[in-house]
Amino acid sequence: MEHTLAAETAVDTNLAAVSDSLIIAMIVAYAIALFLFAVEAAYGRRRRLRANRLMPAGAAAARGAAEPAAVGAAGSAGAAGSGAAPGTGGMADLDAEDDMRVRMRREEPEPSAAQHVVGRIALVVTALGLLLNAGQIATRGMAADRWPWGNMFEFVVAICLCSVAAFLYAAIRYQARFLGTFVLLPVLVLLGIAARWLYSEAGPVIPALHSYWIAIHVSAAIIATGGFMVAGAGAIAYLMARRTEIRRAAGERVSGVAAKLPDSELLDRVSHRFIVLAFPLWTFAIIAGAVWADEAWGRFWGWDPKEVWSFITWVAYAAYLHARATAGWRGSKATWIGLIGFGCLLFNFFAVNYLFSGLHSYA
C-alpha cells in the first residue's frame, strides 16, 4: 500500500490569474466585433462577392473580375479576360482570334452581401478576440499543467474558439463575413453562461481523464461542434433569407437586416459546406470516444446518456445529408433537419450533463 499526496496539485496562480483576465478581454473583443458586424449587416450596401468554391463563377467572371480570387476563381484562369456573358444563357465573344464562346445552361443569381468598411475592422477585431481566446486556453492549460479541456467551463471556451475560428475560415475562404452576427451572438451568450455559471478554477481532473485520448476525442468533438455552430448560424440566416425572398415574391416590401442578407441559395451552401466538414470529424470523435471508453471503462459502447445523444446527433446530421441529396427535401425541410441536429448537439452538451447521471459527468 502506498498513498501519497498528488504532486501536481500545484497550480500556477499567476498564470491562472492571467488566464482569468483574458476571459474578460476576449469577451470585450467579441462584443465589439459583434457590434461592428451588426452595423455592417444593418447599414452596409449590397455588393457583389467574388466567385469561389461555393459561389457561382459565371457571373463573377463575366465582369472581368480578373484579380485572382483567394480560391482560384474561374474567370481569372483564362488568359485574356475570357469568361461568360452575364445574361441568361448568353454568349459573348471572348477571344477574337479563337472565337471562344462559353455557354452555361443555368445562370446563377449573382452573389452579393451587405458590405461596409466596418466589416473589415470587425474581422480584425474578431481575429484579435480569437488570439485572446487561444491565449486564455493556453495559459489555463499551463497553469493547471494538463490538457485544457476537463470541465464544462473549459469546453464552452474551447467551443467558442473553434466556432470563431470556423467563422474566420468561412469569412476568408468563402467570403462569408455576413455570418458574423449569426456566429458571434451565440458565442457571446455561451461565454456569458460560462463565465457566470460554469466557471471553475484551474486545477487537476479525475484520473479517467488522464489520457492522451482527451487530446484526440475531446478536440475532435470540440472542433466539430465549432463547424456545426457555423452551419447552424448559416441555417438560421438561410431561413430568414428564404422568408424574405418569399415575401418579396409575394410583392411585399422587406426592410431591415433580413432584406440585406445574401441570396438564400448561397447561405444554404455555406451551411451545407460546414456540415460536410464537421460530420466526418464528429464521426471520428464518436469512434475515438469509443476507443477511449474501451480503455478506460471496459467497454467501447455502453449506452451512457452522452453516447446515446451523440449517436442521436449523428443520425440527425446523417438524415440532413440524405435529405439534402433527395429531390423535394432540399431547402427549408433539410435545413430544419440540420437545425434539429444542432439542437441535439446542444442538448447533448448541456442537458445530458445536468439532467442525467452518467459517466461523462465533469460539471
Partner: protein, 539 residues
C-alpha cells in the same frame, strides 16, 4: 445514400409494379406481396425512417435507469415510482437496448440497408468496369459548354485534351466527317466510398451483435495481496453473452501486489484522487510464465483476449473476532464501500456465521482520517488513512444465511438478531469487548482493495476496423467530386478545327463550372502554342 439521383426505390429492385386499381385483379399473389414488401423495406425512405426510429428509440434509455448499466438505480426507481415503474417495465423501458422492439428496429434496419446497399454495390461495380458514356451529339445542352476554333488538326486536339485530363478514364472515337470525340469521366471513388461506408455500417451492426453473443463481462473486488483466478465463482457479478458458458473463460490468474494512490490536498478538488494504480503479477494460463503489469485507469491489462480494468478502490479493514470461548472465529479483511469519494467514509458489514451457538454480525463505519466535526460527530476529512478509526454496531442471533436465499455481502439482515450495542472508536490494534461476554472484536489494521472488471469481447477489433472503414468511405463520399467532360473536334470548311468542350458535374458544386472553364481555356492555350504543321493560316 446521398446521391442526387437516388430515388425512393433502390436500383436493382425494379420488379414489375403489382397491379393496382384493377377491379378484376384485386388479389396479389404471395410472391407479389413479398416483392411489394421487399421494395418498401429496401427503399431509402424506409431506411431513413428506421434510422430515425433507432435514434428516437434510444432516447428513453438515456432518461430512465437501465439494468444493463446499473441494477441498483433501477431498483431505486421502482421504490420511488411504485405505480409507474411496472408499466414502464412492461414496455422494456429499463432494458431499452436489449428489448424486442429495439431489436426489431435494429434488424429491420439491417435488412433494409442490405437491400439498399448490395444492389447499389453491384451497379457501381458494373459502372466501374463500363467505358465512359459516349460523347452526346449536342454538347451545348450540357451545364457548361464552350466552343472555339484552332489551327491544330482534330487528332492533336484530342491528344492535348487527353494530356490535360489526367486521372480521368478516357474514351476516344472517330466520327464521320473526320471529327474526333473524347469522353472522360472521373470521381468513381465517391460512389465507392458511399458503398463502402454503408457496407461498413452493416459490418459494425454485425460486430455489435456478435459481441453481445460471444462476449462476457464480470466485476469483482480484490484486496491488495490477494489473487484472482478467472472462474465463474471468483466474480461478484457476471454478465455472460448468450453463447458463453463456464468453459469459455480464459484460464488466466493474477495477484494484486501493490496499490498506489495519490490525492489532491488543496483547493476545491481536495480529496479527489489524482491518480491510482496497482501492480499486478499475472499468468495467462496456470503453466505460463509469470508477467507483471502496471494496472491503472486508462491502462488495462490485456491477457488472452480479455481485458482487465481498474475501476475504483477502497479500504478493507481487517478484523479478528473471538467468540465467548475465546476461539478465533474470524480473521480477515472486509471490503467496505465508500459513501463518497472525497473523504472515503466507508460502510461495511462483518458476518461471523461460525461464532458458536449464536451467530455474530456487525455493521461498521470506517473513517480513514477521523476528526471531530462541527457538531461533535466523528467524520472523515480526507481519503488518505491519517487517523483510521472504525466504529461498530454489534448484533447477535441468526444471520439468515442458512435458508438458501442469496444475501448481499454489504447488507446485514437483522430481523432475527438483537442488538448488542455500539463500540467505542477503535484505532488499529484496539479491541472491543462485546457485552454479555459474547466475545471480542479487534480492529487489526486495514488494507486497500481495488474494484475491477474483466471484459471479453471478440468483436472489439472487427468493430473498430468497421468504424474506421466507415470514416474513410464517408470522406470519399463527401469530398470526391465525380464529373464528366467531353471534347469534340471537327474540321470546318475554312480549314480550321472547331473544338467543342462540355462538362457535367454529378454533384452541385459551383467550383466545377470554374474547373471546366479552366480546362477549356488551357486546352485552347495549349493548342495555340502548337506549331503549325499544315498550310493553315496560323497566327
Amino acid at each position: 445514400m446521398p446521391t442526387e439521383s437516388a430515388s425512393a426505390t433502390a436500383p436493382g429492385t425494379a420488379a414489375p409494379r403489382p397491379p393496382r386499381d384493377r377491379p378484376e385483379a384485386p388479389r396479389l399473389s404471395a410472391l407479389g406481396w413479398a416483392r411489394w414488401a421487399w421494395r418498401i423495406l429496401t427503399s431509402m425512405r424506409t431506411a431513413l425512417i428506421l434510422l430515425f426510429l433507432l435514434a428516437v428509440g434510444a432516447i428513453p434509455g438515456s432518461m430512465l435507469p437501465q439494468r444493463g448499466v446499473s441494477v441498483e438505480q433501477v431498483r431505486n426507481y421502482f421504490l420511488e415510482h411504485p405505480d409507474l415503474a411496472p408499466w414502464l417495465d412492461r414496455f422494456y423501458l429499463f432494458d431499452v437496448y436489449s428489448s424486442p422492439w429495439y431489436a426489431a428496429i435494429y434488424l429491420l434496419l439491417f435488412v433494409s440497408l442490405t437491400g439498399c446497399v448490395l444492389p447499389r454495390a453491384a451497379a457501381h461495380y458494373r459502372a466501374m468496369r463500363a467505358r465512359p458514356p459516349r460523347t452526346p451529339r449536342n454538347l451545348e445542352r450540357m451545364p457548361y459548354s464552350a466552343t472555339f476554333t484552332t489551327a491544330a488538326p482534330p487528332e492533336r486536339v484530342v491528344e492535348a485534351a487527353r494530356a490535360l485530363l489526367r486521372r480521368h478514364r478516357i474514351d476516344t472515337a472517330e466520327e464521320p466527317g473526320g471529327a474526333r470525340a473524347l469522353a472522360a469521366e472521373t470521381g468513381y471513388l465517391r460512389e465507392t466510398g458511399n458503398v463502402l461506408f454503408h457496407l461498413a455500417l452493416l459490418a459494425l451492426l454485425i460486430a455489435l451483435g456478435a459481441g453481445s453473443f460471444l462476449g462476457y463481462r464480470g466485476n469483482m473486488l480484490v484486496v491488495e495481496g490477494d489473487g484472482f483466478a478467472n472462474t465463474l465463482t471468483s466474480y461478484d457479478a457476471f454478465f455472460p453473452g448468450t453463447a458463453v458458458d463456464e468453459g469459455d473463460l480464459q484460464p488466466f490468474s493474477f495477484t494484486v501486489e501493490e496499490f498506489q494512490a495519490s490525492f489532491i490536498e488543496e483547493g476545491d478538488l481536495s480529496g479527489q484522487a489524482a491518480a491510482f494504480s496497482a501492480d499486478l503479477s499475472y499468468r495467462a494460463a496456470p503453466d505460463a510464465p509469470e508477467q507483471r503489469h502496471h494496472l491503472a485507469v486508462n491502462h488495462p491489462l490485456s491477457v488472452d483476449g480479455a481485458q482487465v480494468y481498474l475501476l475504483g478502490h477502497g479500504y478493507a479493514p481487517e478484523f479478528r473476532v473471538t467468540n465467548a470461548e475465546g476461539d478465533v472465529v474470524f480473521d480477515q479483511p472486509v471490503p467496505f464501500i465508500a459513501r463518497e469519494e472525497t473523504a472515503f467514509t466507508s460502510d461495511g458489514v462483518i458476518k461471523v456465521p461460525d461464532a458458536g451457538e449464536e451467530q455474530l454480525g456487525f455493521t461498521a463505519v470506517f473513517l480513514p482520517s477521523a476528526a471531530e466535526g462541527s457538531d461533535g460527530e466523528l467524520v472523515s476529512t480526507f481519503p488518505d488513512p491519517r487517523n483510521p478509526v472504525v466504529t461498530l454496531t454489534g448484533y447477535q442471533g441468526d444471520l439468515g444465511m442458512d435458508d438458501g436465499r442469496s444475501q448481499s455481502v454489504y447488507q446485514l439482515y437483522t430481523d432475527d438478531m438483537r442488538e448488542l450495542g455500539e463500540s467505542p472508536e477503535l484505532s488499529p490494534g484496539d479491541t472491543w469487548e462485546l457485552p454479555d461476554g459474547a466475545g471480542t472484536v479487534t480492529f487489526t489494521g486495514y488494507r486497500d482493495y481495488i474494484s475491477m472488471q474483466v471484459n471479453s469481447d471478440p468483436s472489439r477489433v472487427p468493430a473498430l476496423a468497421a468504424a474506421a472503414t466507415a470514416v474513410l468511405g464517408l470522406l470519399a463520399t463527401l469530398f470526391v467530386r465525380p464529373r464528366r467532360a467531353w471534347v469534340r473536334a471537327r474540321p470546318s470548311e475554312d480549314g480550321r478545327t472547331v473544338v467543342e468542350v462540355a462538362g457535367l458535374s454529378k454533384t452541385e458544386n459551383a467550383a466545377l463550372t470554374a474547373e471546366f472553364h479552366r480546362f477549356a481555356t488551357s486546352l485552347r492555350d495549349r493548342l495555340r502554342e502548337t506549331p503549325a504543321t499544315d498550310t493553315g493560316t496560323k497566327e
